[in-house]
Symmetry: C2
Subunit: 285 residues, 2 copies
């Protein structure tokens, strides 16, 4: 099936967008980890989301999630690895699935926004975001694997199993990966270097030679996520109607700029949903 609207992200902006899209009777595919995994959920106290005074982050997060559930909306916790525009809409790659959609609302926050030095240069030339997609290219070779969430360990383990040698950079403790051909490096990759192709991953205090580097992250940099998306000061450039430089792709929440506020995100999610609905309706003529 082809969805009307794909909402990427399940924080305040994504939740607001998904709820509004559903109320406006559009079919929605919603991808994201959910409110309970956001910074909002970790806030000690939230005083300025009017109508819900003096609440803590987890309480407000649960209220948002419950609100969405009333419309049958639960986000699918799949990591989006690419948003590609075709003739009639978009293909969204997420986890091991691919979704067809007429429009996209990007509400992915700012966590993954920043790419490491050299990252953009080597995407497709040594850098990959998907082990199952590109792993076979590195069979018997030396790879680096950046893992920022334990849930990606299966993918990382697959890479370790086919590579000659794997340097694993986990961003959490108790990494379960091991093997004679595995070295765990408890550092964050800072830069990627090479010539025509990636040759080296650099971190504070060292570097390793690699043939390929897999970045298994909960969120991708905007540049990798949606090719062609215009940025401004590191944020997605959006108009007052939340449209972006990619026709049919709208943005909402922290990814569009400061202030990083729940109310701003919720408002922009609402506006993005209205704009996406208008866009989808106009496509149908």
């Amino acid at each position: 099936m082809i969805y009307d609207i794909a909402v990427l992200g399940a924080g305040p902006a994504g939740t607001s967008a998904a709820v509004n899209a559903a109320i406006l009777e559009k079919s929605v595919i919603w991808l994201g980890a959910g409110m309970e995994k956001t910074d909002t959920a970790r806030a000690e106290k939230i005083r300025n989301y009017i109508g819900v005074p003096d609440v803590n982050g987890m309480e407000l997060s649960r209220a948002f999630s419950e609100h969405a559930k009333m419309f049958g909306l639960v986000p699918s916790d799949e990591t989006v690895t690419g948003v590609y525009k075709g003739e009639d809409g978009f293909t969204v790659l997420a986890g091991e699935n691919s979704y067809e959609t007429r429009s996209v609302i990007l509400a992915v926050g700012m966590k993954g926004a920043k790419s490491a030095e050299g990252e953009e240069k080597f995407v497709g030339r040594g850098i990959s975001y998907c082990a199952t997609c590109d792993g076979f290219l590195y069979k018997g070779k030396t790879v680096g694997v950046f893992v920022d969430d334990k849930k990606f360990e299966n993918e990382a383990a697959f890479l370790c199993s086919i590579a000659k040698f794997a340097y694993v950079f986990p961003m959490y403790r108790d990494c379960g990966l091991k093997g004679d051909n595995v070295e765990i490096v408890m550092k964050k990759p800072r830069a990627f270097e090479g010539g025509a192709r990636l040759e080296k991953v650099v971190f504070d205090g060292g570097a390793r030679k690699v043939d390929g580097m897999f970045l298994l992250r909960r969120a991708l940099p905007f540049s990798a996520l949606a090719p062609g998306l215009e940025l401004i000061d590191g944020h997605v450039r959006a108009g007052r109607d939340m449209s972006t430089s990619v026709v049919g792709l709208f943005a909402a929440g922290d990814c569009t700029g400061r202030p990083y506020q729940i109310a701003k995100a919720v408002g922009e999610g609402n506006v993005a949903a209205h704009s996406a609905v208008e866009y989808v309706d106009s496509m149908r003529g």
Copy 2:
């Protein structure tokens, strides 16, 4: 005293702006009739302000008002008749008072946005928004008085008492004004006509010759409210940071454009407050 921020309007945008400005420790003067008088309050059901599911308009309005009261914020129900920029800030005329403020957040909705045909042309040349300010100019003359809320009847009565003849256009039933020199016209003025000065008020099915016309309204058209404010398609032109063409004046809510949504208004009120705070801080160096 000079306030940091004057918030004009007490709907969802104004309430959000006032609460955020107070949390950010700025001094606030808040002018508006209050949430209970808004269209939001009359909504049968509101389903898309996330976190507060399945609520009716009055319930949500009261929750917003209560939230503001927690910060000691209660709007002063005075009608703003002008926002004038000076060297160090703004003078806001409201009711019979005048307030000095470093910045302004315009959150007045769209109710008063549209001026009648010819209105702008004759402001200051026969058209006035304030009986106590300009009434004396029409002593012994013929005036028209448009009254859109019973609360302005005192002002209208004053005009009737000094005018030779008064045509009163009330927008409600049971108008209490009468007298030998008063004609009640149950029509809405559609246009104002004249040469160098106003000469005639036109309504469906008739017209009356007048020397002056008083428009006593809960909300003024943007053009009358804040001279110099740039509009776009009948709305206040605002940037992503809610700044307008007047430096130090920010806008939020319905007045900045569609969709006319509570969440959008609340989000924009939040952003406008942050921008106004930044502006005020930058003024102080």
